[in-house]
């Protein structure tokens, strides 16, 4: 088993082969394309949107898709396409930073726990993780934003905290197998300390795992942000957010379905894209797992 995982250290010719395989993977290409569309939409929104998203134009409220507003207008006459573009910015930013928080705290904790396997410290870290896992994340996120006030920043923190145990566990389990490797043994014999081995030998070899998990957590982060915004605890108006667009269109769904449909599709496609990309990346980095899930 151990020697089969040698592909964690690809030989020098590997990047070319990796790209070739990547382009052949349908789920990876499709997932990356979907993700890219929304990332681009978010980036473009900084420079240009078809309409001003904070501009209220009551005379044009609740119009279906037209040449002027390709995705129609909402109950304040705002352009839904523009709102989805700016909303992508919020969703992506929240999910990105939340994953960042999860990695920044979770990975070192996981490495640390693995380096001191079986010690009291390992127990404390891992049981601490279990404790965080034991709480329903969205409920705690609601609690945090309810106490500190609803805002995008608090949503990021709330979602980020629940990413920490995910990355800590993943890193620890990945690192534990690596600690058995001969090259780690060699490094220890050479006199390197646990911290240095963790950074120089363990971390580079769990990166693939982290990228795959990061992609999945990213999609969960987008869902969580949409959920918090939906209950009014995410980004505050007038900043558009997909979840709040859904919440606001709720009572109008019977006569203006486009108001709920498009933000709903945006959430669906982004999450789908990220999940496909995550699957594709996992297959790519770890071909043995292809076809399993």
């Amino acid at each position: 088993m151990t020697d089969l995982r040698a592909d964690h250290l690809p030989p020098s010719g590997a990047p070319v082969r990796l790209w070739g395989r990547a382009l052949k993977s349908r789920s990876l290409v499709l997932g990356a394309a979907l993700t890219l569309i929304f990332v681009l939409a978010a980036l473009v929104s900084f420079l240009w949107t078809p309409f001003d998203v904070t501009g209220i134009d009551i005379a044009n409220k609740i119009k279906g898709p037209s040449a002027r507003n390709p995705l129609g207008t909402d109950h304040f006459g705002r352009d839904i396409l523009s709102m989805i573009m700016v909303g992508a910015r919020v969703s992506i930013a929240v999910a990105f930073v939340a994953v960042g928080i999860g990695m920044a705290f979770g990975v070192p904790l996981g490495l640390w726990a693995a380096a001191r396997k079986g010690s009291l410290l390992d127990e404390v870290i891992m049981r601490g993780n279990d404790l965080v896992f034991a709480f329903p994340s969205l409920v705690i996120a609601i609690l945090i934003t309810a106490i500190f006030g609803p805002s995008a920043v608090n949503a990021i923190v709330a979602i980020g905290i629940f990413n920490i145990p995910v990355f800590a566990r993943l890193t620890r389990s990945g690192a534990l197998t690596l600690w058995q490797k001969d090259y780690v043994l060699a490094a220890r014999v050479a006199g390197k300390g646990a911290a240095r081995i963790s950074v120089e030998h363990i971390l580079p070899n769990v990166t693939n795992l982290l990228i795959v998990q990061g992609t999945i957590q990213f999609s969960l982060g987008i869902l969580a942000e949409a959920g918090l915004s939906y209950v009014g605890l995410g980004a505050q108006p007038p900043t558009p957010s997909w979840g709040r667009m859904l919440a606001e269109s709720q009572t109008m769904i019977s006569f203006a379905p486009h108001m709920a449909l498009f933000p709903g599709l945006a959430i669906l496609l982004t999450v789908l894209g990220l999940n496909l990309m995550g699957d594709g990346l996992r297959d790519l980095f770890d071909p043995k797992l292809r076809g399993r899930s």
Binding site: T54, I58, H75, F76, G77, Q236, P237, P238, T251
Partner: protein, 493 residues
């Protein structure tokens, strides 16, 4: 477990429904958004309490009619002395509380003394402030002595806060209210519903329904769904005006649009810089386009107002022109006031859709003149604590649903912190004036004063939107006070 009970209940309901299918339906389910915190109208300001108990469970000496007029309640008639200082109320005879005890003059004395006592928890103590003495002359006669003549005393006694309660049952009033009304309290499933049943020994015209259920549905989408599914027969103060065209088009339902006493205002903290400057407040008023708010937030349902007074009141003065939409003027005023733009302020918004949606529109309108209003959405509890009691806000939107409440501007410690000695003197004068013409004149004057001082930005009068099944009759179309008076409600033949 719960599921099984529901199923049993459902089956029971079906059997029951089948057996009485040929008889006249005699029960009704009313949906409303807010659940009352408890059921004592004499010790809390929450309008949801009156919505359930007013005139159904509890009655006062006088009562509001559907048109806002004040008529006899437990007091069938009253005399006023020459000097206007003594009111003699003649009580209805043979009235019994729901627990079987007799309602007599002693209960009236108890109720009024309890409400005006030093340690009274009554939310409207001002109603009783003029009383110096309450005496039970005999079992059916009560004499009230006032410190000053007060033509509005019968009006004050019609409020839900002035209902008659019994010393025997006062301890349990919050959970098992015992009144004299045509309905008696039956059951309260917290978080879901309150059930009332007909009082078979009612002293007056008996209720036409056997049972009334108040169901609490806070979410507008759920309100729409429950109405459409006919889970509720009536929805009082329907929260989603955007759905009304659908109900209108559906022959199963009817939509009643009436007036309320709810002046919806953009309240301004008059003590907080730069809003302590009247010019800045005037600028805010001119930056606001009322029609856009009514169309955008209320889907057209609402009457613009220019002062804190209900437009259906005969004394109302239309002052909307004085604070008309004029963004250029607003910018000029801000410049005159020496405000550095953009001016960043906080706007706190409670949950109702008029506030949440109206707030977003107002924020966009204020942005046009250089005021950046940062929206903070809060729940009612937070709003009451932080904004209303704590006065920690700059701007907020709320509807003031009490009738004739312009006197709140005479309270310098009220949350908008408006402190004008002349206005306070004027309200004090109105309080002691009993000549209707003079009162009317002074009310008009008061409306002008607060409009001139631009205390708040006055937006619109909140409509009362009731959605009901087509066969329901006898509902109040207007809301002269917060109430869902069920005593005359019945199903059409």
């Amino acid at each position: 477990m719960t599921n099984r009970f529901t199923t049993v209940g459902l089956a029971g309901g079906l059997i029951f429904g089948a057996s009485v299918a040929f008889a006249q339906q005699a029960d009704i389910t009313i949906g409303q958004q807010l659940e009352p915190p408890h059921l004592d109208p004499t010790s809390a300001a929450a309008g949801a309490i009156d919505q359930v108990v007013y005139s159904n469970i509890f009655e006062g000496l006088t009562r509001f009619g559907p048109d806002g007029s004040v008529g006899p309640g437990l007091a069938r008639s009253w005399d006023v002395s020459e000097d206007g200082l003594t009111y003699t109320f003649h009580l209805a005879e043979g009235v019994k509380f729901h627990d079987g005890t007799t309602m007599d003059a002693e209960d009236v004395v108890f109720s009024l003394n309890r409400a005006r006592a030093e340690d009274s928890a009554n939310a409207q103590k001002a109603l009783f402030a003029g009383i110096t003495d309450v005496v039970a002359t005999d079992a059916a006669t009560v004499t009230v002595t006032l410190s000053n003549p007060d033509g509005a005393f019968p009006f004050k006694m019609a409020w839900g806060d002035a209902v008659i309660v019994a010393p025997e049952s006062i301890d349990g009033i919050k959970t098992t209210p015992i009144g004299t009304g045509a309905f008696m309290f039956d059951n309260w499933v917290e978080g879901d519903r309150i059930e009332l049943k007909k009082n078979p020994e009612y002293w007056g015209e008996p209720a036409m329904l056997d049972a009334v259920t108040f169901k609490f549905i806070s979410d507008p989408t759920a309100a729409f769904a429950s109405m459409m599914a006919e889970d509720v027969d009536v929805f009082a103060a329907f929260p989603a005006p955007e759905n009304l065209p659908q109900f209108d088009a559906d022959p199963r339902f009817k939509v009643l649009v009436g007036s309320t006493e709810g002046e919806t205002i953009l309240a301004i903290n008059n003590k907080q810089a730069p809003f302590d400057n009247v010019k800045v407040r005037e600028a805010v008023a001119h930056a606001i386009n009322r029609q856009e708010i009514i169309d955008g937030a209320q889907f057209g349902y609402g009457t613009p107002i220019g002062t804190h007074f209900a437009p259906h009141n005969p004394d109302y003065v239309d002052l909307t022109g004085q604070s008309g939409y004029d963004p250029e003027k607003a910018k000029m005023l801000l410049e005159e006031a020496g405000v550095t733009l953009p001016l960043k302020v906080k706007m706190t918004l409670p949950p109702p859709s008029y506030a949440r949606r109206g707030g977003e529109i107002i924020a966009a309108q204020l942005r046009q003149v250089g005021i950046e209003a940062q929206i903070e959405n809060v729940e009612w509890a937070q709003w009451l604590e932080g904004t209303f009691r704590g006065k920690d806000y700059a701007l907020t939107i709320v509807s003031h649903t009490e009738p004739m409440d312009i006197n709140i501007y005479a309270r310098p410690d009220y949350y908008f912190q408006y402190d004008n000695a002349d206005f306070q003197a004027l309200i004090a004068k109105i309080d002691v004036e009993s000549d209707p013409a003079a009162r009317s004149e002074m009310f008009k004057q008061a409306q002008q004063v607060i409009a001139d001082d631009y205390v708040n930005a006055y937006l619109f009068q909140l409509p009362l939107i009731t959605v009901a099944k087509a066969g329901v009759e006898g509902l109040w179309e207007n809301a002269p006070t917060q109430a869902a008076d069920m005593t005359a409600v019945h199903w059409a033949e």
